[in-house]
């Protein structure tokens, strides 16, 4: 976790590695119906898991487990994808992998129904349940140059981890446009995040400025094109059989927008991300393969 060192000194939380070079981070796109192979390949395309996880690291993995909804509706990240990532982390020598989300539905129900809880535990990860926000679980950080967020509570396990892996699922969302990797970080805060909807693009770009995802792997195996983010009908899904990985969360999101027939500039928070220094959302190195 790049910001952890600074944040723990109580200073402004910001990235250690400046990314405002203009160019975006590299994006790996894998098209395949085999989720496990696709995830492994996508991570390989952006440098391999060893680039993100070193021996002895504590890793925080944050899938989207917002709803108590079974896997086939794709309201949550695919459980197999979560298991594959946890496996990769342990293969890279991680000492501990935490998997969690601040769910909208009851966490215990959501973890089980989504299939992510059992899948992650099977792979040896530790699940954290965010039933309520307390000081044991959350820590206040200052958001440097934050427009909407000046300070916010962030899950300690992310702040104190060595590597933070963002595992979103791609869905339509009425207020934000789409919910992918950047919006997935709404689940790391302890604030009243419903309020963030009142200025959602600033809020999403601010939290992503404050807390960088080391690696983002997008579940776009079947995207929810309408009635998101809850869905609940297979007719809302479109099979896209794609896994997208990047060290830049904005670039991972930008690449995903094309699957919805949109452009990165269509999303307010992606435009703001580029302005705030998360790298270009239109020009970035890109590798694509089909398995």
């Amino acid at each position: 976790m790049r910001i952890a060192a600074i944040a723990s000194f109580g200073l402004a939380a910001r990235r250690l590695l400046p990314l405002d070079t203009g160019a975006g981070a590299e994006v790996g796109v894998v098209r395949s119906t085999n989720i496990e192979a696709a995830v492994q390949k996508a991570v390989e395309l952006v440098g391999g898991i060893g680039r993100y996880v070193s021996r002895g690291d504590v890793v925080a993995v944050k899938p989207n487990i917002a709803f108590n909804s079974p896997p086939q509706y794709k309201a949550n990240t695919d459980p197999l994808m979560v298991r594959t990532i946890v496996d990769l982390c342990y293969q890279a020598g991680a000492s501990k992998v935490y998997v969690f989300d601040r769910t909208l539905s009851n966490p215990r129900l959501s973890y089980v129904t989504s299939g992510i809880g059992p899948a992650a535990e099977e792979a040896g990860a530790k699940l954290l349940y965010v039933d309520d926000v307390n000081s044991k679980l959350y820590k206040k950080i200052t958001v440097a140059d934050g427009v909407y967020l000046k300070e916010t509570l962030v899950n300690r396990y992310i702040l104190e981890s060595d590597a933070f892996i963002n595992l979103p699922v791609a869905k339509q969302h009425s207020t934000a446009g789409l919910t992918i990797g950047m919006k997935n970080l709404m689940g790391i805060t302890g604030d009243n995040r419903s309020r963030w909807h009142w200025d959602i693009h600033q809020a999403i770009s601010d939290i992503n400025m404050a807390v960088g995802s080391d690696l983002t792997v997008v579940d776009a195996t079947a995207i929810m094109t309408r009635r998101g983010p809850t869905g609940g009908s297979l007719s809302y899904l479109e099979d896209t059989d794609t896994i997208i990985a990047s060290s830049g969360v904005a670039q991972a999101d930008a690449e995903t927008t094309y699957l919805f027939g949109k452009k990165p500039e269509d999303l307010g928070y992606l435009r703001l991300a580029e302005q705030k220094g998360l790298g270009s959302i239109v020009s970035y190195p890109r590798k694509e393969i089909s398995l």
Binding site: S69, P70, S105, R108, T113, S174, T175, S194, H197
Partner: protein, 476 residues
């Protein structure tokens, strides 16, 4: 019967009580876990509870029939060997026995106590309960032993008050609740009067040791055991100097086949005579039961007991509130099992009829779209068990947006959290773009209800960021 056999039977009874009490505690603790979705067999298979909402479920019918048959075959074995409340009472009786011994008003010193045993209030209560099982007044719910034990171990206020009452009872007599008050005990007691295998006195030297019978069912002066009170507990029978107790069919054990002991003469004289006192008391029980029916009938006529439709939101699947209030056992199983903890206990403010019934308050999660735990655990299906599809389409109430509180209408901010979290696939909350814009120049999206799609699950209410909450569910 030989003393050793009787001693073994006593030990067997205590072991059985411990096992069933352990099972009860295990079921209770497991039932706190929403993933267990456990049906409590102590409530589910209870004959009186079964009557409140008879269900065409073969397993349940078979279990209920087995319990009734057990009472016909062997007497109140349930009360003596199984009932968790009975076991708790017995433990209290044991602990408090030194105090009871010194209590000057203990029932054991009450000269007319046998009369009370012969005509206990419980038969009257059973009558009242049986009437109210079929009519609106909730009475059973406040007299049922298996529900009280659950209220006690749940540490609810009423449960603890009842526990206090039991402590007090223990100062006056052993098994006071079971002997004089329990309607379920009365039901098994009436069945126990059908003379099949019963404990009988075949020999007696009038030593009076059986006066220690906890329910005062043994009457050595009359050489009889009152089967409707006998819990078949074998507590003291092994101490009978004449070994005069027999567990037999009528006429088999009494007087014949017994070793001729000194005291058999009066016994045989009694048993060969027609059991007229017993028949008389049988008639009196009938009268009591009918009086109970009258009391039950009166109770249903009393206004404050009568079911009343409230504006409360009831657990999912409840469509007929009046019927629900009538059937609900007030066992609070749904309240304890709800994973989202949105089922709350109703106090007295909605009338006596709704007291301790469950209602919903949606913060912080609302009623989960895929969850049916309350339906699965409800012992008498007062909350109907539906298919998931039915549950997902049966309205609990209906949500209404208060435009004077909603930030979209009031402050021209985009929000739509309610639309976002609505779990109905078609979305019961949608949005309109009116052409207005937010301060940032984005098109303003106003949430709109689609009332016919709303199932009143309250997730929108639970997640609404406005203060006070701008979208609320109301009973439809």
């Amino acid at each position: 019967m030989r003393s050793r056999t009787l001693k073994h039977l006593k030990i067997g009874r205590i072991v059985s009580q411990a096992l069933f009490f352990g099972l009860f505690l295990f079921v209770f603790i497991r039932s706190l876990d929403p993933f267990a979705a456990l049906e409590n067999p102590f409530l589910r298979f209870d004959p009186l509870i079964f009557l409140t909402n008879p269900e065409a479920n073969l397993a349940v019918i078979a279990a209920v029939a087995a319990l009734l048959f057990l009472a016909i075959l062997l007497g109140r074995v349930f009360c003596g060997w199984i009932c968790p409340l009975g076991s708790l009472i017995e433990a209290l009786d044991f602990v408090l026995s030194p105090l009871r011994g010194r209590n000057p008003v203990s029932l054991q010193r009450f000269p007319k106590r046998k009369l009370l045993v012969r005509y206990p209030v419980s038969v009257l209560l059973l009558g009242a309960v049986l009437v109210t099982v079929f009519t609106p007044a909730p009475v059973l719910q406040f007299l049922h032993p298996n529900i009280w034990i659950i209220r006690i171990v749940s540490l609810t206020t009423v449960g603890l008050v009842f526990f206090g009452l039991l402590l007090l009872f223990s100062l006056f007599a052993r098994r006071l609740w079971c002997t004089y008050l329990c309607p379920l005990g009365a039901l098994y007691g009436l069945l126990a009067r059908i003379p099949l295998f019963r404990l009988r006195i075949s020999a007696c030297n009038s030593c009076g040791r059986c006066d220690r019978c906890p329910t005062e069912a043994a009457n050595y002066r009359g050489r009889e055991i009152m089967a409707h009170q006998c819990l078949v507990c074998f507590d003291y029978e092994s101490e009978c100097p004449t070994q005069g107790f027999r567990l037999t069919l009528p006429g088999v054990g009494s007087g014949q086949g017994a070793p001729a002991a000194a005291g058999t003469a009066p016994a045989s004289r009694r048993t060969t005579a027609p059991p007229s006192p017993s028949r008389r008391s049988f008639l009196k029980h009938g009268v009591q039961l009918i009086a109970g029916f009258a009391v039950g009938g009166l109770l249903t006529g009393i206004g404050f007991l009568r079911r009343r439709v409230t504006n409360l939101l009831r657990p999912p699947g409840v469509v007929d509130e009046a019927r629900f209030v009538e059937n609900c056992l007030r066992c609070l199983q749904c309240v304890r099992s709800c994973p989202n903890q949105i089922i709350k206990i109703t106090g007295g403010e909605h009338g006596f009829a709704s007291l301790y019934t469950p209602h919903l308050e949606f913060r912080p999660y609302g009623c989960d779209y895929f969850c049916q735990v309350c339906q699965q655990v409800c012992p008498n299906r007062a909350i109907p068990l539906q298919s998931l599809e039915q549950k997902q389409s049966t309205p609990i109430g209906i949500a209404r947006i208060d435009e004077s509180l909603c930030v979209v209408y009031k402050e021209k901010l985009n929000c739509l959290v309610c639309e976002e979290v609505c779990p109905v696939p078609e979305k019961a909350i949608r949005y309109d773009q009116t052409g207005e814009r937010t301060a940032d120049g984005e098109p303003l999206r106003e949430p709109k209800m689609v009332p016919e799609d709303c199932i009143g699950c309250g997730i929108c209410e639970a997640k609404c960021p406005a203060e006070p909450v701008a979208i609320r569910v109301f009973a439809s």
